[in-house]
Amino acid sequence: MKKLINGAENVVAEALAGMAAAHRDLIRVHFEPNYIVRADAPVRGKVGLVSGGGSGHEPMHGGFVGRGMLDAACPGAIFTSPTPDQMSEATKAVNGGAGVLLIVKNYTGDIMNFEMAAELAKEDGIEVRQVVIDDDVAVKDSLYTAGRRGVGATVLAEKICGGAAEEGADLERVAALCRAVNGAARSMGLALSACTVPQAGKPSFELADDEMEFGIGIHGEPGRKRMKLEKADHVAEMLMEPILADLPFRRGDEVLLFVNGMGATPLIELYIVYRAAQAIAEKHGLAVSRRLVGPFMTSLEMAGVSITLLRLDDAMRKAWDAPVVTPAMRWGA
């Protein structure tokens, strides 16, 4: 294991301290329980947006805290859901009187911890809604699995809901928008190499130099199948095909195309994949009107890429374009 750390035990706490110092104009970090809130929280009269999940996916979620996106993020241990006390304290800290939306990725641990947190928040008299994100088409048979994982659509939902909340949408509208984004987004990812959880000390799986792992999640867990490495254009096709077929996306749909890096894949390769993915989308008759390219939801130092396609409507497009000022996403302001 080759990492710039001081000790596996301290990775999350030291990274949070660094984030607090680097972005003191935008965020505040609370320790024990750990959560990140926007510097001006709570914002009176605005719906609060709280998300969270295991650490190791930076900039998600902490890097998305700020005006126009999340009010709070709860980081767990690496690849481990945060605990209910983190979420319920964060919920209290951002409650501006208009209720709080919890954006939850569909993983067994996240679901259970957020459920317990929502119970606690209700005891505190805070109006809470939860929306579960489950956009990963790699997970096929929902009846016999924990269901589809929440992946790339989470980033889009957090931005879009944040934009709407900032402009005064009420809790029901923000929650409905979040469900709509999740319902209209599909994702698929693959890895060229595994990642190493600091406390585990070795890679979560082994891939030969000429292999790739297709249908991965974001926790270093193995994917659906292992196959020979293909050229970028072919990889883009393999990712886009199941995405296009699943929703399904139809000729004339206006879409947002998001090409996400898993951590170690450089931007130059992401743009090669983007170029191919956009050509495939256009050939399919889609109008790509919004784009996002970069490492926004990573898996430590995993090499790989995921693609997310979101069918836009007017409300989503407007909220996507709204100003955002966070450590990792910033435009229009």
């Binding site: 241990a77 993983y107 911890n113 317990m116 959880v197």
Partner: protein, 206 residues
């Protein structure tokens, strides 16, 4: 002679169980992590060790008065420190076991079975899991059945271990292992294995 479940367990005896369990989890941390790396994300050992270390710290600082208070303290500590799926599941196990303990000063064998069964019911409700889903339920269910039919704790430990081993040929239906489909076949479920340690440490603590 399997008479280990015959006498009552007071709060002190249950604390001895928790300390034994904490030590056992530290000893087996790497094994649990390796099982989890095969079909999950490789953090089960570290997460449980973090939680039970915290339990030990709490028990160094305060002495719960009753079995119910002790079990509740353990549950709340795990929920607040483990995270992942294991935090709510093991936390719920001890919280529900604590509720079933009522105001008893000690748990006789029937009382112990009642508490463990309540814990298992809580786990099944929280995780929406049934036997055969390749989860901790597959180790706890036969163990508690063995104990309930007066098999004694040593027999319960053996039943738990057999139950965990029997998860190897299964396809997982819950948790991250379920994403793997048939690739989960051949691997023992890490949660089932940590549940074996829970039961075995109860037998060892006497």
């Amino acid at each position: 002679m399997d008479d280990d479940g015959a006498r009552g367990r007071d709060t002190g005896a249950l604390i001895a169980w928790m300390r034994r369990l904490a030590a056992t989890i530290r000893t087996h941390e790497a094994e649990l992590t390796a099982l989890d790396a095969a079909i999950g994300d490789g953090d089960h050992g570290a997460n449980l060790a973090r939680g039970f270390n915290k339990v030990e710290q709490k028990l160094d600082a305060e002495m719960p008065a009753t079995p119910a208070a002790l079990l509740r303290l353990v549950g709340m500590t795990l929920i607040g420190s483990v995270g992942g799926a294991a935090g709510p599941l093991y936390g719920t196990f001890f919280l529900e076991a604590g509720k079933a303990a009522g105001s008893a000063a000690e748990l006789d064998e029937a009382g112990l079975v009642r508490c463990l069964a309540a814990g298992l019911a809580g786990v099944k409700a929280r995780g929406k899991a049934e036997p055969g889903d390749k989860t901790m339920v597959d180790a706890l269910t036969p163990a508690i059945e063995a104990l309930g039919s007066r098999g004694g704790l040593a027999e319960a430990g053996r039943a738990a271990r057999a139950g965990a081993q029997a998860t190897a040929p299964l396809i997982a239906r819950k948790g991250r292992a379920s994403y793997l489909g048939e690739r989960a076949i051949g691997h023992v479920d890490p949660g089932a294995m940590s549940s074996v340690l829970l039961i075995e440490s109860l037998a060892e603590a006497g």
